[in-house]
C-alpha cells in the first residue's frame, strides 16, 4: 500500500494528542471504510453502525499503532475485517433480499442495455456478502478498492502468492453464485 504521507502526518498528530487530527483522520478515511463494510454486509444501516464502531476502535488504539510496521490504512482495514467477522458471529446472515435496481448512468448505452447492467450490479452487490469471508474481502479489496496484491497481503496477513490464488478462487465462487 502506498504510504500516504498526508495520512501518516495526521496519524502522527493523533498520537501527539491532537484531538483535531482525529476529525481529519475520520474525514480522510470514512468513505473507504464505509465502502469496504457496505459490500460485506447486507444493509446500509449495518454498514453505518459498523463504520462508526470501527472508528471508535481506531481512536482507542491509535496510540498503540507502530508506524514502522504496516501502513496505517492496512491497519485500519484489519480492524474493519475483525469487526465484520465479529458482526457475522453475532448476527445470523439472512437471505439477501432483492434490492432496488441500481442505476448507473451510461450515456453511450441504450435504455435496454442500462437496465441489464443495473440488474447485474444488483446481483453482484447481493452476491458478495454470500461469499466466504476471505473471498468477499479479496473481491472488495482487489476490485472495488483496487488495492494491489501486496497491500492486500498486509491487510489479510497472508503471503502475496496466496492472495493471487485466493483472488482467482473468489471470482470463481462469485460466478457460481451468480450462475454465469
Amino acid at each position: 500500500m502506498r504510504r500516504d504521507s498526508t495520512i501518516d502526518h495526521i496519524v502522527a498528530r493523533c498520537k501527539a494528542a491532537d484531538r483535531s487530527a482525529l476529525g481529519e483522520l475520520y474525514d480522510a478515511l470514512v468513505a473507504r471504510v464505509y465502502r469496504f463494510v457496505y459490500f460485506r454486509v447486507t444493509s446500509r444501516e449495518d454498514a453505518e453502525d459498523l463504520t462508526e464502531q470501527i472508528f471508535v476502535r481506531i481512536f482507542e488504539h491509535i496510540g498503540q499503532f507502530d508506524e514502522r510496521g504496516i501502513p496505517f490504512e492496512a491497519w485500519v482495514f484489519r480492524i474493519a475485517r475483525n469487526m465484520i467477522i465479529d458482526f457475522y458471529r453475532e448476527h445470523k446472515v439472512a437471505v439477501v433480499p432483492l434490492e432496488e435496481a441500481l442505476h448507473v448512468p451510461d450515456p453511450g448505452t441504450s435504455p435496454e442495455e442500462q437496465t441489464v447492467t443495473a440488474l447485474q450490479m444488483e446481483d453482484v452487490r447481493s452476491a458478495i456478502p454470500k461469499l466466504p469471508e476471505t473471498y468477499g474481502e479479496i473481491i472488495v479489496l482487489k476490485f472495488i478498492e483496487e488495492l494491489d496484491n501486496e497491500e492486500i497481503s498486509r491487510i489479510l496477513e497472508k503471503p502475496v502468492s496466496h492472495v493471487r490464488v485466493l483472488q482467482s478462487r473468489a471470482i470463481q465462487k462469485l460466478k457460481e453464485i451468480l450462475r454465469v
Binding site: E60, G63, E145
Partner: protein, 248 residues
C-alpha cells in the same frame, strides 16, 4: 453478461449507495469527537490544564462555601440551646479554642465560653420555658467539663472561673425562685410561682441579683473599668491571662 464480472466489480465503487450518507457522516463525526479518547496517558500539558480547571472549580466552590458558611456561623452566634443553629455556634467555639495559638489565649477563650453559657442561662425572655433553661444549664455544665479537659488550657484558671460562674448561676437560680410567680411551661399554661414537680428552674421575670452585674461578653471589646461584679477581661496582645474579679 455484457460486461465481465471484473468490470462490473470495478464500477461498483461509483454507485451512490457505496458512499456514506451525508447525515450519517456528520452525525457520526460529532459523536466520535465527543467521546473519542486516545488510548494513552494525557500529556503533561493536558494534565496541567485539567488540574488548573479542576482547581478553579474547587476553589470557586470553596469560596462560595466560606461566604455562605460564614454568614450562617455569624447568625448562629445569637442562638440558644435548642435552636437548630446552636450546634454551629458551639462548633465554631470549639474551632476558636483549637485555633488559639498559646495557652493564655486558649484559657481566655475557655473562660469566655463559660461566660457565654452563663449568659445563655440568665438571658431573660418572657417566652422562655423551664425546658429552655434546663438546656442552657446542661450546656453550661458540658462546656465547663470540656473546657477543664481541653488541651492547652490552664486548667486551674478555668476551674476557678467555672466556680465563679457556678456561683453566678446559683445566685440567679435563687433570684428566680424568690422573684417571679409565673412560668410558662411547655403546655403553654401559666403556673403560679413557677414551681412544679420536677421543674428546677422556674423562669418568672428575670431580674438580676442586685449584687451581681452581669456583663455582656463581648469578645472584641474591653469592659469599662468601673463596672463591678463579675468582669471578664479580654487579654490584650502580650497578656497571658484574663483577670476576673469576684462579685462583691
Amino acid at each position: 453478461m455484457k460486461q465481465s464480472l471484473e468490470d462490473i466489480l470495478r464500477t461498483m465503487k461509483t454507485i451512490p449507495e457505496a458512499a456514506p450518507r451525508a447525515t450519517f457522516q456528520e452525525n457520526a463525526r460529532i459523536r466520535l469527537m465527543n467521546t473519542a479518547f486516545i488510548g494513552r496517558r494525557a500529556s503533561i500539558l493536558e494534565r496541567i490544564h485539567l488540574t488548573y480547571h479542576i482547581a478553579r472549580l474547587v476553589g470557586g466552590f470553596a469560596l462560595a462555601s466560606v461566604f455562605v458558611g460564614g454568614a450562617v456561623v455569624y447568625a448562629a452566634q445569637y442562638s440558644k440551646p435548642g435552636n437548630p443553629l446552636y450546634p454551629i455556634k458551639t462548633a465554631s467555639e470549639q474551632a476558636a479554642l483549637h485555633l488559639a495559638p498559646t495557652t493564655g489565649l486558649k484559657t481566655s477563650v475557655a473562660t469566655i465560653l463559660i461566660d457565654r453559657r452563663v449568659q445563655e442561662v440568665t438571658d431573660g425572655r418572657d417566652d422562655r420555658t423551664s425546658e429552655d433553661v434546663e438546656r442552657a444549664v446542661s450546656s453550661f455544665n458540658d462546656t465547663v467539663h470540656s473546657m477543664e479537659q481541653a488541651k492547652g488550657v490552664d486548667a486551674s484558671e478555668v476551674e476557678t472561673h467555672a466556680k465563679a460562674a457556678e456561683k453566678t448561676l446559683e445566685s440567679f437560680r435563687q433570684s428566680t425562685q424568690h422573684g417571679g410567680t409565673d412560668t410558662k411551661s411547655d403546655d403553654g399554661k401559666n403556673h403560679e410561682e413557677g414551681r412544679q414537680s420536677g421543674d428546677r428552674h422556674p423562669t418568672p421575670e428575670i431580674t438580676p441579683h442586685p449584687t451581681i452585674e452581669l456583663q455582656h461578653v463581648d469578645l472584641s471589646a474591653t469592659p469599662p473599668a468601673d463596672v463591678k461584679g463579675i468582669q471578664i477581661e479580654i487579654p490584650r496582645s502580650g497578656d497571658q491571662k484574663g483577670e476576673t474579679s469576684r462579685d462583691e
